[in-house]
C-alpha cells in the first residue's frame, strides 16, 4: 500500500497559485472571446445571405468534429511556425501562450455559437416582426430587441459551458504550458509525489467546479421563479 506524504503541497502553493492564475486567465479570455465570436457566428448562421451561413456552419461543424487536443496541437506545433515564416518573426519567439489561448478560444467559440443560435431562435418571431414594424433596422432590432432577450435565457447555459471550458483548460498540458494541472504535475514529478499531487489537483478541480455548478443551478431556479 502507498505511504502518503502530503508535505510537498504547502511549499509549492505559490507555484500552484501561479498555475491557477494561468488557468483562470485562459478561461476568462476564452469565455469572452468565445461569446463575442460565437454571437457573430450564430448571427452569420441564421443570416439570409447563404454563403455567409454556409461558412459559419462549416466553421462550427469543423471545430465540433475535431478533438480539442488536436486543435491545441495544431496551434502549438503548426501555427507558430506558419506565423514565423509568414510574418518573418525571429525564430523561437515564444508564442505558446498566445497561440494556445487563440486555439482554445476559436474552438470554444464553435460551442458557444450553438448555444447562442438556440437562444436567438428561442425568441419568438413576433419580436423581430414587431421591431421591424416599429421601423428598426435589422441591426437595431437584433441589438435592442432580440439579443437582450436571447442572452437572458442563455445565461445558465453559457455559465455551464464556462465550467466545462475551465475543465478543458487542463488540456493545454499538451502544449507544455504551466496551467494549474501542469504545475501540480511538475511539482509531483519533481518530488516523486505524483500520487498526492494528482489527488490534490483532482480535489481542487472538483471543489471549484462543483460549487460553481451548484451556484448556476441555484441561479437557474431563481430565474425560473422570477
Amino acid at each position: 500500500m502507498h505511504e502518503f506524504d502530503w508535505s510537498s503541497i504547502p511549499g509549492s502553493l505559490p507555484f500552484l497559485w501561479q498555475g491557477m492564475l494561468v488557468s483562470l486567465k485562459i478561461t476568462g479570455v476564452a469565455v469572452v472571446f468565445g461569446i463575442v465570436w460565437g454571437t457573430v457566428l450564430a448571427m452569420a448562421r441564421l443570416s439570409s445571405i447563404k454563403p455567409l451561413a454556409w461558412l459559419a456552419a462549416g466553421y462550427v461543424n469543423l471545430f465540433r468534429a475535431v478533438p480539442l487536443v488536436m486543435v491545441l496541437l495544431w496551434f502549438f506545433l503548426i501555427v507558430p511556425q506558419l506565423l514565423e515564416s509568414l510574418l518573418g518573426m525571429p525564430a523561437g519567439t515564444d508564442m505558446r501562450m498566445s497561440s494556445a489561448i487563440t486555439g482554445f478560444a476559436l474552438f470554444e467559440a464553435a460551442y458557444y455559437s450553438e448555444i447562442i443560435r438556440a437562444g436567438i431562435q428561442s425568441v419568438s418571431k413576433g419580436q423581430m416582426a414587431a421591431a421591424s414594424a416599429l421601423g428598426m433596422s435589422y441591426g437595431q432590432s437584433m441589438r435592442l430587441v432580440v439579443l437582450p432577450q436571447a442572452f437572458r435565457n442563455m445565461v445558465p447555459l453559457l455559465l455551464t459551458q464556462g465550467i466545462i471550458l475551465f475543465q478543458d483548460t487542463s488540456l493545454v498540458y499538451v502544449s507544455a504550458l504551466a496551467d494549474f494541472f501542469g504545475a501540480a504535475y511538475k511539482v509531483g514529478d519533481r518530488d516523486g509525489r505524483l500520487v498526492e499531487m494528482l489527488l490534490f489537483a483532482g480535489a481542487v478541480y472538483f471543489v471549484l467546479c462543483f460549487v460553481a455548478s451548484q451556484l448556476v443551478r441555484h441561479y437557474q431556479k431563481k430565474l425560473k421563479t422570477a
Binding site: 478533438p67 487536443v69 488540456l171
Partner: protein, 245 residues
C-alpha cells in the same frame, strides 16, 4: 513560404523499418476506434444503471448515483485519466499493483484509458437516461403501480422501454464525444490517432500532411457515427411522441 508538400511520406518505411508511416496511422485509427467502442459499451451499461438509480425513491441509492454523476462530471477528463493511470496502481494492494505495473505497457495504457473514458462518459449517459425517465408523464408510473406492478416491474415493463427509446437522439452527441475524448489518451502514451499524428511530426519533416490526415480521420469518424446514429434514431423513434416527429 517554402514548404515541400510530399503526400508520399505516408508510404515511406518508418525509422525502425518494419512498417510504413501509413501503417502507423492505421494502427492509431484502429486504436481510437477500438478504445472508443469498448468504452462506449461500458459507459452505456453503467450509465443506464446509474441513471435509473437516480430516479428511484430510495434516498441512499439515488444519493450514491447523484454522487457518482457529480464526481465524474466535475473533474477534468485529463485529471481523471492521470488518476487512473498513475495513482490507482499505487493504491491497489501491493501484489495486484505490482502485477499491473509489470504487465505490458500498452495493456496498462489501454486499461487506464478504457476505465477513464467509460466512467467519464457513464456520468453523462446517466444524466440523459435520468432526463429521459423524467420526461415521461408521471401518470405512467402511477398507472403501472395501480395495475399491481411492483416498482421494479414498473421500471422493467412500463418506464424503461419508453425511456431508452426517447434517450437515443441525445446519446448521439455523447457517442461522438467519446471518439473526440479518446484523443486525450495520447497524453499517457497510448498510440491512438492523435499520438501517431504527433509522432509523425517528430519522425518526418512533414507536419502538415500528418496533421491534415489525422484531422480528416476524425472528420470521417464523425460523419460515419452521425449517419449511423441517424439510422438508429429512425429505427427506434416512438411514433407520435415529442421528439419523434
Amino acid at each position: 513560404m517554402a514548404y515541400n508538400w510530399d503526400w508520399g511520406v505516408f508510404l515511406q518505411p518508418t525509422a525502425s523499418g518494419d512498417d510504413t508511416y501509413l501503417g502507423w496511422m492505421i494502427y492509431g485509427f484502429k486504436m481510437t476506434i477500438g478504445l472508443s467502442l469498448a468504452a462506449w459499451v461500458l459507459a452505456l451499461l453503467i450509465g443506464a444503471l446509474v441513471g435509473v438509480l437516480r430516479t428511484v425513491p430510495n434516498k441512499w441509492l439515488s444519493g450514491i448515483a447523484t454522487a457518482w454523476v457529480e464526481l465524474f462530471r466535475n473533474i477534468p477528463l485529463l485529471v481523471q485519466l492521470f488518476l487512473w493511470y498513475f495513482v490507482l496502481p499505487e493504491l491497489l494492494p501491493e501484489s495486484l499493483g505490482n502485477a499491473y505495473k509489470q504487465s505490458n505497457p500498452v495493456v496498462q495504457q489501454f486499461l487506464a484509458a478504457l476505465l477513464c473514458l467509460a466512467l467519464f462518459t457513464s456520468a453523462r449517459v446517466a444524466e440523459q437516461v435520468r432526463s429521459g425517465i423524467h420526461s415521461l408523464p408521471p401518470g405512467q408510473k402511477n398507472a403501472g403501480l395501480a395495475m399491481g406492478f411492483t416498482l421494479p416491474q414498473t421500471y422493467r415493463f412500463v418506464l424503461l422501454p419508453m425511456a431508452f427509446r426517447i434517450v437515443v437522439p441525445p446519446l448521439t452527441s455523447e457517442f461522438l464525444n467519446i471518439f473526440k475524448n479518446s484523443a486525450v489518451c495520447s497524453t499517457i502514451g497510448l498510440l491512438e490517432l492523435a499520438a501517431q499524428g504527433r509522432q509523425l511530426v517528430d519522425y518526418t519533416a512533414q507536419p502538415y500532411e500528418s496533421f491534415i490526415a489525422v484531422t480528416l480521420a476524425y472528420l470521417i469518424i464523425n460523419v460515419v457515427v452521425m449517419f449511423g446514429m441517424r439510422w438508429v434514431e429512425a429505427r427506434v423513434r416512438v411514433p407520435g411522441y415529442i421528439g419523434g416527429k
